[in-house]
Amino acid sequence: MINNKRIVNKKLVFDYLNDNLTSIQQKSLEQWLKDPANEEEFYSYLNEYENENMQYNVDVEEKLREVKERLSSTSPEEEETLKSKRLAGRRRVISFTAAASLLLVLGLLWARKKFSAEQVYAPTGALAAAVEDPIEKVNTTGFPYTVVLPDNSSVILQPEGKISYSPEDFKNGKRVVYFEGTGFFEVSKNPESPFTVNTNDFSTRVLGTSFTLKTAKNSQENEIVVKTGKVAVFKADKGNGTAPGEPVMLSANQKLQFSRGSTLVPVMISKKDLEQPAESLSFEFDERPVSEVFEILSSAYHVEIDFEMEEMKNCKLTAFLSDEPLYEKIRLICFALDARFEINNKVIIITSNGC
């Protein structure tokens, strides 16, 4: 059965739809479809297939109008907006405010610093012992900076924050990173693969949620603040053979603060404790113009979002994107707007044919 699951994939289903299956493959497909749990996957592939092999083009807006007319009498002004002509696109870039002003002042210096945030170097201290050949990102810029991990989880790294992992840490159902400093994590949901953050003093384990970590530095305390979902916190095994102890479970809007020796007691928090926009924003939009949505995302994640201002000026977005990682938010926005996106050198470029 496990083998069967491996054999049947998108390619095989496409081959089936194109009548290119051997009889053995046909048998495995039949076998696979006997499990009703696989039906959803089949229809997903079928939809992709139809999407790529459209028999003809339908005027979907016209048809939607017809159907709505049948369901109720539509208002004439609605028809006007639907018919409104698309204008030639003029691109506009929204940058996060901090970077934009800094750029003006620091110019090239900024670019060099940004580059240095990307560089890979050997970690020191406790981290060195635990990781082999890691990728380490250190925020040496003066402002927050979003790191996207191999599983598309995103971390907004505050200045001087450090995150490292080796490619091996994201293979075989594992997701492990090593972390120092302050950062806001939005972990992409994957029930089969827990996401672990190790720090010098503690570890956290989650499936898909959002939370802030602050590791102790000098006399400061460690801090874990949960925005959504649940987070399990373990005290770090200090290598002296003692078992890592029972985890403390944190739920949404709970905070855990502790220094190295203290016990772990979670407390409830209010929204005042959430300092950064990405931590405090709910990212729920009701008919918001997309330019505003992109502006909010751009300033919360400190990224550049490049989109067609003219093309998208009529686009309004209704969406709930509370704790999705950055790229997941972008992906869902594009789904809702029938737009496409690509990431080019950290800039998110969105293309659309208008709304």
Binding site: L17, K34, E39, V60, L71, N190, L274, E284, A319, F320
Partner: protein
């Protein structure tokens, strides 16, 4: 459920006007994989109108493309798919659906396309098979998934085996929805010749489809 807020980046303290998602505590953390389907579900919960618009825009074209493989007529395909969406809205299918929207829509297209063909081409077949199909079809048997693809293939093969002129007239009339007079002009033949070609094509499809389905029973 939500409140509206307005904010321009950098102009005011965001935390003053923005809500923290706290009520959803139980929803999140269960490890639900958020994809387009759950996005649509959330949208339908908040505003069925907006959910409907998005669902329509997302799938209407692809569903017509799928439907036309069975009914070989753009006009009929669009009618069938529109009918599915009308029914989806009027019966509030989105409130009690237990599959994904996508699976529901594709299954409906297949089921309705089949019913349509049955009415059109298997009209004169015996009652027993009809009842048999009626009993079988609403149940989601996994074999059905393959059955529909075979049906589409069979039809395709039959149409491709039609004599060239007959096929051309049939496809112009049926697939493109052209009038007989337009076809006559295009093919440089008389209107009654067009009628003959098309009725011959329909007869052929009926006989072939019937003999095929008898074999398969």
């Amino acid at each position: 459920m939500y409140e509206k807020y307005s904010r321009k980046s950098g102009e005011e303290n965001p935390s003053e006007k923005l809500r923290i998602s706290s009520e959803n505590e139980e929803d999140s953390g269960k490890g639900i994989v958020l994809d387009e389907e759950s996005y649509l579900r959330r949208l339908f919960k908040m505003s069925p109108e907006k959910g409907f618009d998005l669902l329509f825009r997302k799938y209407y074209g692809q569903l017509c493309s799928h439907c036309v493989r069975f009914v070989h007529s753009k006009a009929f395909a669009e009618d069938i798919v529109s009918e599915i969406f009308v029914n989806f809205w009027q019966k509030k299918v989105y409130e009690h659906i237990d599959t994904s929207f996508k699976a529901y829509l594709y299954k409906s297209v297949r089921f309705r396309s089949y019913n349509f063909l049955k009415k059109e081409f298997l009209r004169e077949t015996n009652e027993i098979r009809d009842i048999d199909f009626a009993r079988k079809s609403p149940v989601d048997k996994p074999d059905d998934i393959l059955f529909y693809h075979e049906l589409a293939n069979r039809l395709d093969k039959i149409i491709r085996s039609l004599p060239a002129q007959s096929r051309k007239a049939f496809q112009m009339s049926r697939l493109e929805g052209m009038k007989y007079s337009e076809i006559a002009r295009e093919m440089n033949i008389t209107i009654s010749a067009v009628e003959r070609l098309i009725s011959r094509a329909l007869d052929k499809i009926r006989t072939e489809l019937r003999s095929d389905s008898t074999q398969n029973q």
